[in-house]
């Protein structure tokens, strides 16, 4: 009975969260939708097929992260998802962001995660058992959130402007050193603090007896 009560509480809580976000987005949507038109359906070209393949790679990788019981397979799924997101950036003509995604996420973050997986998981211990309640409550909140965002994405007639794709590396460099110089320097400071903090937290303490 306790699990049932918990489930009801989760459902109500999720509905409250999603309702609040929904009301907010409904307030915002008229301002966003000024002068928008519904997109036209065109012929299916090869580029569209590649887009759907990349999107499927992204979603499939994310599904592997969320649903795989083995943490190592989750890490490999994360690899697929990050690669797919990089492909989406290429489709959005954001070349520098795509390359930065591959360098930083796949070259850095994913390797860190793999190290953490192998340092903290005893081999052969595939014990990520979830109680069914965890799946149910997490699934309810995620599904409601997904439905809400999908409604916003497809129902609002976005005022789309066509912007051409051009190389972005040089303009981003200029923007970083002119318009965004202070955040850029702050980011370097944060990275330095992170470096020192991570070393201090993760090192083994040697006590002087």
């Amino acid at each position: 009975m306790r699990t049932k009560k918990k489930l009801i509480a989760w459902t109500l809580g999720s509905a409250a969260v999603v309702g609040a976000v929904g009301v907010l987005s409904a307030r915002l949507s008229p301002a966003l939708a000024a002068g928008g038109t519904r997109p036209m359906a065109g012929p299916f070209t090869l580029a569209d097929g590649v887009f759907y393949a990349v999107a499927a790679l992204t979603v499939g990788g994310a599904a592997a992260v969320a649903l795989s019981r083995n943490i190592l397979y989750s890490a490999l799924g994360l690899l697929a998802a990050l690669l797919g997101v990089a492909g989406l950036y290429v489709f959005l003509s954001a070349d520098f962001v795509a390359v930065a995604q591959v360098f930083i996420y796949i070259g850095g973050v994913l390797v860190l995660i793999l190290f953490a997986v192998m340092l903290t998981n005893r081999i052969g211990e595939v014990n990520i058992s979830n109680a069914s309640l965890g799946w149910a409550s997490g699934g309810i909140l995620s599904a409601l959130m997904l439905g809400l965002i999908l409604v916003v994405a497809f129902e609002i007639p976005w005022a789309v402007r066509s912007t051409g794709g051009s190389p972005t590396t040089a303009p981003i460099g200029h923007a970083l050193l002119q318009q965004w110089l202070l955040p850029f320097e702050l980011a370097s400071l944060i990275l330095l603090a992170t470096l020192i903090g991570a070393i201090i937290i993760a090192r083994k303490e040697i006590r002087a007896e």
Partner: protein, 102 residues
């Protein structure tokens, strides 16, 4: 169908929901961090897509770059904390780590 803004938003929405699901259901701290990475990526896709289809310019892409930098910093510190928790408690079950010392 030519991929429009809504398609990118839909992919990002699915990515975000799966990341949220991962964070909510996993008990392995590393897996929780993976879910956070998924959600950050979803928000980044949204930033770049809105930048391309609605705003133009480079502001959204620059913001996405800063998000990537902060996500890398978050992953480094988070995984250091996970390693420290593992040294202390010999497990990385997020329910077991309820003390800040041994």
């Amino acid at each position: 169908m030519i991929p429009t803004l809504s398609h990118y938003l839909a992919v990002a929405a699915i990515l975000f929901a799966l990341g949220l699901f991962t964070v909510l259901t996993r008990r392995n701290a590393v897996a929780v961090l993976m879910g956070v990475e998924l959600m950050l990526n979803a928000s980044n896709v949204n930033l770049v897509a809105f930048n391309k289809f609605l705003v133009g310019g480079l502001t959204g892409q620059t913001f996405a770059l800063f998000v990537v930098v902060l996500a890398a910093a978050e992953a480094a510190v988070g995984l250091a904390i996970v390693l420290s928790i593992f040294h202390t408690f010999k497990t990385i079950d997020v329910r077991a780590a309820d003390l800040m010392r041994e």
